[in-house]
Symmetry: C2
Subunit: 390 residues, 2 copies
């Protein structure tokens, strides 16, 4: 909305002006009154009043004089108080929990990682608490917490409906537990849906409007950005390519139903595609225990390792092709543990992928690696926290 | 935008009021001034002035007195002049061209079908011309033409980049040719993307915001609605599931590249999934010449025919499952020639599909059958034409 100096009630008007001035300060921080007049088109009195209100609300502050000296001639510089609030992004994995604390500018000020203990919820709570303590903060300083977890998450309730990756996670009262940490909003979201947000925020495809992030590790799944927004599907289950069956014969038997009668046991199920290209399979194909060693040998030119990488890339390319034929994204990021295999694997995937698809998306490796989920959770939490700004 | 009676320039104000009154008339047609006052919140003078302006513009008219008598007490009834403009929706197929002419209310007033002649563009032109002649209209009466065609259509240029279904169509100057018919906008779009619009407008999933239409005939492809809008992908190539390979063995050979070096020959290519479940395959599986006869026999309970239907449904379900795992839509429509096989086939697909997916979309057959593309083209043309209304 454009700022106005007339034609509205004084309260609404002041709020619109405050919003415009705050946005201008955040974009420039620090900024002078003259900068803000130019950026907003408001008069000096209107800007000055908005700054005063924002200062009272604790959202902006004057840059102290020592810093001002180094900036040249002494004018009043105003900065956004990114420390006015904090958000927490959490990545709950099968082996570890990561919590990142960031200020309102998105700067990560503390990070904590813990092995997942037997009591999953307690591990999550503890990791968040320790990360906050490390930053000398309490739950009252937190404006939003977003938790990423494997599985299908129901958006409205935040309930994890199905989480094959983490036994015992489905239907746990995650939100109830975390809401004891802070009075602010706590959200839960599928981890791969967050990873794609992270990469779009500060990773391999900044600002992309048409993006697929494929997580390739023990699990396989995809996070989708359409028109610049996360696409979750009608039930929060979009991108579940790990379950796509691209390998059985045309008239092979149908799989056992995952849901319905067997829902209770579904946590132990793997998808067909996951099964065919997961890290376990790579180890089996290479007759090796350590997948990383296979890729290292391939990068060094070992013919046997190269052949394994080529075969696994060919299989992966088949599942990826299905995704790309259906979604036709502009950019594709490959992340998850397997993406650490680097360019040797990427080149092989690319070679097998191109004959299978009709378009030419940009194919890149994850920039954020194992931080993608937590950073995506921070980004999502910031989006939420920003609703509290004027 | 809400209508206003103050606080704006008189010109803008009148336009806003006209728009509100026209919308109210279109929703109710016919309507009385009192109805319009209630619907818009405008005063009697403001409504009367807007009606006068709309009448001058030829967009509304008084209902003639004879009709008014039958409507009860004599008040002035005003109707939308749906005949103020027309649109044309065209379906260009490999064997036939269908053109439908509709008025601004969406009522189809004329329809014409012709076999595709050797000169494809001439066939399209002739079909449109004959449909218009049948309705006693000329190109000047037309507010928009939308043409549906197989293949990948570049949105900006309207160029058909790849059309395996219709030899010779790719890179034809379709738009240049059709722009000689009318001075109004002419658009071209992938036919299956239009079919889903048609079904959403007046077919099997009216108003659905999360919908996939799967065309199952000689070709296989999908049209996608996300958040109530058509989803085309970054290159207009979304939904090309006909090319998904769900049937070769894990380490089978890669397909020959479709694009690149062989692009020129791509028109003769079929997708792997199309190849495995297309109508030709069904005929081969049933050792029959007539696919329809196979389904008729299955519906009558013939065991051999039922087995063929079951096998083909199982194969189709596998490709469909890939689409549903990736997109997680709320509703799925199966259209195209095979959908005429009806409930026997649908039930078999459903049975094989459910174990393969994680969610429970509504699965239905096309309502519009072979009219889906032309009606979707009419809908798209109406959307365009409506931009000309106040």
């Amino acid at each position: 909305m454009q700022p106005h100096e007339s034609a509205r009630g004084p309260h609404v008007l002041r709020q619109i002006n405050s919003r415009a001035v705050l946005r201008a300060i955040r974009e420039r921080s620090p900024a002078r009154v003259a900068d803000l007049m130019q950026a907003t088109g408001l008069s000096r009195p209107a800007v000055t009043r908005a700054v005063a209100e924002l200062r009272d609300a604790g959202l902006v502050a004057d840059v102290d004089e020592t810093a001002q000296v180094s900036m040249g001639r002494p004018a009043q510089w105003i900065r956004f108080r990114a420390e006015a609030g904090y958000v927490v992004g959490v990545d709950v994995g099968s082996h570890k929990v990561v919590a990142m604390v960031a200020d309102l500018s998105g700067k990560v000020v503390a990070s904590r990682q813990m092995a997942t203990g037997e009591r999953l919820l307690q591990s999550v709570r503890d990791t968040i608490a320790e990360a906050l303590a490390k930053a000398d903060l309490t739950g009252d300083d937190v404006w939003a917490i977003v938790v990423g977890t494997p599985g299908i998450v129901e958006e409205s309730s935040g309930e994890v409906l199905l989480a094959p990756g983490i036994p015992g996670l489905a239907h746990l009262p995650v939100l109830d537990e975390l809401r004891t940490i802070t009075p602010s909003p706590v959200l839960i979201e599928n981890d791969i849906n967050l990873a794609v947000l992270g990469e779009r925020w500060c990773g391999a495809a900044v600002g992309s409007d048409s993006l697929v992030f494929v997580h390739w590790g023990v699990r396989i799944g995809a996070g989708i950005i359409i028109d610049g927004k996360p696409y979750r599907g009608a039930n929060g289950a979009a991108g579940e390519i790990g379950f796509v069956d691209v390998f059985s014969t045309p008239d092979g038997p149908d799989p056992e139903p995952l849901l319905g009668a067997r829902a209770a046991n579904a946590v132990s199920e793997k998808g067909a595609f996951e099964h065919a290209v997961g890290s376990q399979t790579i180890a089996e194909l290479a007759d090796a225990e350590d997948v990383a060693a296979v890729f290292a040998a391939a990068t060094d030119g070992d013919p046997a390792a190269l052949e394994v990488v080529d075969r696994i890339a060919a299989r992966f390319a088949r599942g990826l092709a299905a995704l790309l034929l259906i979604l036709d994204p502009r950019e594709v990021i490959i992340g998850g543990g397997l993406s650490r295999a680097g360019e040797t694997l990427l080149a092989a995937i690319d070679r097998h992928l191109r004959p299978r698809i009709l378009t030419s998306p940009r194919l890149v490796l994850s920039d954020l690696g194992s931080d993608a989920v937590a950073l995506g959770a921070v980004r999502r939490a910031l989006d939420h926290a920003e609703q509290r700004l004027p």
